[in-house]
C-alpha cells in the first residue's frame, strides 16, 4: 500500500475493505466444539447402553470427559499462540466457557452428593411401599446438567450470530425440561442429542468454514 492523496470515495473504500478483512479473521477453528460434542455424545450413549443392557464397564465412562480437558488445554494454548489478532469479544467468550466448566463441575458435585444422600432413601421407600416406579435422583440430575450445557451455547451462538449453535443451546433447555418427566435412561439419549446439536454439528460446520477461509488466505 503506497502513500498518496486520497479522495473521499477512496477513503470509504479503504475503511470498508479493512473492516471486512478484519471480520473474516474471526473464524473459530471448531476443534473445541467437535471434541466436547463427540465426548459428551459418546459418554451419554454408553451410559444409555449400560442402563439398557444392565451392563457395567470396568471404569466410569464419564472419566473420558475429565481426560478431554487435557487436549482442550493444549488446543486453547496452541490457538492462542497462533492467533495474531484478538477480537473484542474473545476475552468475554473465554470467561463464559470458563464459568461453564466450573458450573459443570459444581453441578456434578452437588448432583453426586444429592444422589448419594437421596437414592438410598428412595430405594428403601420403594421396598417398603412395594412400588416399582419410585424414581432415583438421576432422573432429575441430568436436567441441571442440560440446563448448564444450554447457557453458554446460546450466549456464544447469539454473540457470533451462529443460529445453528443458538438452536442447539435451546434444544439443551428443551431437553432439560423433558428430562424432568422421563427416566434416566431416556435422559441420556437427550443428552447425546443435545451435545450433538449444540456442539458436534456446529463444530463440524465451523471447522469446514475455517478450512475454507484458510485456503482462501493462502
Amino acid at each position: 500500500m503506497e502513500e498518496k492523496q486520497l479522495s473521499e470515495k477512496e477513503s470509504l473504500l479503504i475503511i470498508q475493505q479493512m473492516i471486512s478483512r478484519a471480520k473474516n479473521e474471526f473464524v473459530d477453528t471448531g476443534v473445541g466444539p467437535i471434541l466436547w460434542g463427540a465426548v459428551i455424545a459418546v459418554c451419554s450413549l454408553v451410559q444409555f447402553l449400560q442402563i439398557q443392557f444392565d451392563y457395567r464397564l470396568p471404569f466410569d465412562i464419564w472419566l473420558l470427559a475429565i481426560l478431554a480437558i487435557v487436549p482442550q488445554i493444549y488446543i486453547s494454548v496452541k490457538e492462542s499462540r497462533e492467533r495474531k489478532v484478538k477480537g473484542w469479544d474473545q476475552d468475554v467468550m473465554g470467561y463464559v466457557w470458563l464459568c461453564f466448566g466450573v458450573g459443570i463441575f459444581l453441578v456434578n458435585v452437588i448432583n453426586n452428593v444429592a444422589a448419594h444422600q437421596l437414592n438410598p432413601i428412595l430405594s428403601e421407600y420403594g421396598k417398603i411401599s412395594g412400588k416399582t416406579d419410585v424414581p432415583n435422583f438421576w432422573t432429575f440430575g441430568t436436567g441441571y446438567l442440560l440446563f448448564v450445557y444450554g447457557y453458554p451455547t446460546i450466549v456464544t451462538g447469539a454473540a457470533r450470530k451462529f443460529k445453528l449453535m443458538t438452536f442447539g443451546g435451546i434444544f439443551c433447555w428443551i431437553s432439560a425440561i423433558i428430562s424432568a418427566f422421563t427416566v434416566a435412561k431416556i435422559d441420556f439419549i437427550f443428552m447425546a442429542l443435545s451435545a450433538t446439536l449444540a456442539w458436534l454439528v456446529p463444530g463440524i460446520i465451523l471447522r469446514r468454514n475455517y478450512l475454507l477461509q484458510k485456503e482462501k488466505n493462502v
Binding site: 502513500e3 477513503s11 479473521e25 489478532v85 484478538k86 477480537g87 473484542w88 474473545q90
Partner: protein
C-alpha cells in the same frame, strides 16, 4: 458545510491501519502488514505517526524468543476515527 478531514487519518496506509484496529481489540504488527499489503518499513513509520498522535498504543513483547509488536487503538483513536467518518459523510452527495 464540509468538515475538515483529520490529516493524520487522511492517508492511505494510516487509514487502513486504523480501520483494521477499530474492529479488533489488538493486532500483531505482522497481521497488519499482511492485511494492508504494506512493507514493514513504511508500516513502521506510519504506526509511529499514529502512536505520536495518541491514536494507537504500541507494546513490544517477546513470543517464542522473537520480538513481537502489538498495536491497539486508543480511546482518542476511536474518537478521531469516528469524527473522520462523520466528516467524510459531509463530502458525500445526499
Amino acid at each position: 458545510m464540509f468538515k475538515e478531514l483529520d490529516p493524520i487519518l487522511h492517508s492511505q496506509l494510516r487509514l487502513a491501519v486504523m480501520s483494521l484496529l477499530i474492529g479488533v481489540k489488538e493486532a500483531e504488527f505482522t497481521y497488519i502488514k499482511e492485511k494492508t499489503g504494506s512493507t514493514a518499513g513504511n508500516l513502521s513509520v506510519q504506526i509511529t505517526k499514529l502512536k505520536e498522535a495518541g491514536y494507537v498504543e504500541v507494546t513490544k513483547q517477546f513470543k517464542d524468543n522473537y520480538p513481537l509488536t502489538v498495536c491497539k487503538i486508543t480511546t482518542q483513536g476511536i474518537t478521531a476515527f469516528e469524527a473522520y467518518v462523520k466528516a467524510l459523510q459531509s463530502y458525500l452527495p445526499k
